[in-house]
Symmetry: C2
Subunit: 342 residues, 2 copies
């Protein structure tokens, strides 16, 4: 009966229904998330990002398979895959391909795959993704793979959801692929050169190592989960002085090559985060980001309710007529609402 209870009891259909509620931002979804929230915080969130053409989906597929194998007699872990496509605000069809590719996993009750497309709202995809991840976490999924298509700001925002972020590259993707790396490299905990059976793999690997060296001679791992504005500040010394140097690994995801080593590095990074206290620091920054985004949306909604009818339209017309600059229009709007509750 109760959605929350059913999700906590591991009912798959209830979870699917909840995810739809969360994506659509319904009151039911919000209420369930409130109830589920105390049960979150157990999963290892793994972000997978990188340019198109690098084979991210195959890699995610292989990782999911790997985690479903029993290791050393322990039970296989429950795995959720969240495939997010922020570049597709319109159709929502873009991640269909991934879904199809993952069909071979779909029969496994220990794997849950969810594709998400942006609904266009400011911060909407990040908020919805955070909610979906919380639902999986509460439902007992121990490994949550968050895959993003593309490599823009939205991907960086989503990568911030993860404890461990993989940045995937591939040999021979052209010249200006170098350009995109500068930013994206800084969010990488682990660098993966996929399609490593292709010519040019040494070059790609060398370029990545050089860029890592150049970008962060004394880089600290939790930087990218801190305030973006303060990222350039020199890292504060840590009690135990431990540093995480992002390893560069080769994989051929279509053949399953290199996947075992990759999962070892992921486990090693998880252990590192817990040892150094970075795990909790990342959790805190992640929750604060979510809080700020939700807060912003709530403030706008509350403010709109105080605005006299038709006032917004009037001021917009004056802006379009270039009688007011955008900033002057904002001031006029703020004045229009504050005159009601001074």
């Amino acid at each position: 009966m109760n959605l929350t209870t059913d999700v906590l009891a591991g009912k798959r259909l209830s979870l699917a229904r909840l995810l739809t509620h969360i994506e659509n931002g319904t009151p039911e979804g919000r209420a369930a998330l409130d109830e589920l929230f105390p049960h979150t915080g157990r999963a290892h969130l793994i972000g997978i990002t990188g340019a198109p053409g690098t084979g991210k989906s195959s890699l995610v597929n292989q990782l999911a398979r790997f985690y479903r194998q029993p290791v050393n007699g322990s039970a296989p872990r429950k795995v959720a895959v969240v495939a997010v496509d922020p570049s597709s605000p319109f159709t929502g069809g873009a991640v269909l391909g991934d879904r199809i590719r993952m069909r071979d996993l779909a029969g496994d009750p220990g794997v849950f795959i969810r594709s998400m497309a942006s609904r266009g709202a400011l911060g909407g995809i990040a908020i919805a993704t955070a909610g979906v991840v919380q639902a999986f976490d509460a439902a007992g999924y121990e490994v949550i793979l968050i895959e993003t298509v593309g490599a823009g700001q939205a991907e960086v925002d989503i990568a911030r959801l993860a404890h461990t972020t993989l940045v995937v590259e591939a040999p021979g993707l052209g010249d200006d692929i170098q350009a995109i790396k500068a930013g994206i490299l800084e969010i990488a905990d682990i660098l993966v050169v996929n399609k490593a059976d292709r010519p040019g793999v040494e070059n790609t690997e060398r370029a990545l190592k050089n860029m890592l060296q150049l970008a962060h001679p004394t880089r600290r791992v939790f930087h990218h989960h801190g305030q973006v504005m303060t990222v350039k500040a020199p890292p504060a010394p840590q009690a135990d002085g431990k540093l995480w140097i992002p390893p560069v690994l080769r994989t051929v995801a279509t053949e399953g090559e290199g996947i075992a080593s990759l999962t070892e590095q992921i486990a090693r990074h998880g252990a590192f985060l817990r040892e150094t206290g970075d795990w909790n620091r990342r959790e805190r920054v992640r929750l604060q980001n979510e809080l700020d985004t939700l807060l912003q949306a709530a403030l706008v909604a509350r403010w709109r309710a105080t605005l006299p009818n038709g006032r917004y339209g009037e001021i917009l017309e004056r802006l379009v007529a270039r009688e007011l600059s955008p900033r002057q229009a904002v001031e006029a709007l703020l004045a229009a609402s504050s005159s009601r509750n001074p």
Copy 2:
């Protein structure tokens, strides 16, 4: 003396100084933009987007060169290039490559090139880009080429600044490049298959045409400048019933091939927008987007000022301890501030 007057008089150094003010969000920058705003609205804004590796920068370079040639005895147009990299919130170094590649244009006083990286603020890059574009427009730059690196939501936001949006593809960029197209295609006014001397160009061209066909059998051009949420609604019939079918063009930017045809299509699209009234509709939606983004930032700032000291930190702690869900934390924060001015 006065920055605005100097910019309007075409002084290049003053313009450069103004752009820095705008990027840094200084009061001087804001004041100047207010004064310059009535002088805007004359430029043709051309957005260029697409995945990394497609050769966007070379294409932009060639377009700029082309517009600098006198055509049919008319004077060459003043051209501004704004290269935006929203995927680089950290270093700001990612667009350096573009800058270097455009060095051969840099001696031309009729060309102004500006590289921008995200400063990390929510909507910050879009707002700063809007300001920079307004400054160029007021300063008499008739063609403004807005190039984005990457292909995520931020790029879509920036593409919305333009009157005419080019989406650039290239043959053989891998499988899941197909995935990214679904979303990005819908913002394309003109599709460019660059690097058309490479094998596989026919396949890429055919795939694009098929996707266009599938995605928008009766597509209307100004959709993507409308509210994203309503994009799926069937288009309202237009008085003259005119439709823009995005053409698919081949170029080899490094050789200058196909550039003349491309500029013809850009001119044809500009004329189409003016004939159908879509030019003004796009202007309106663009200004409204900018207004809403600025408004949101202003509301948050105003609200923060009303919050009792230390309250934010307290509530954040309860969130981190999982005593409050993110949404409950927002409610607690709103209650904390509204109790002051009920």
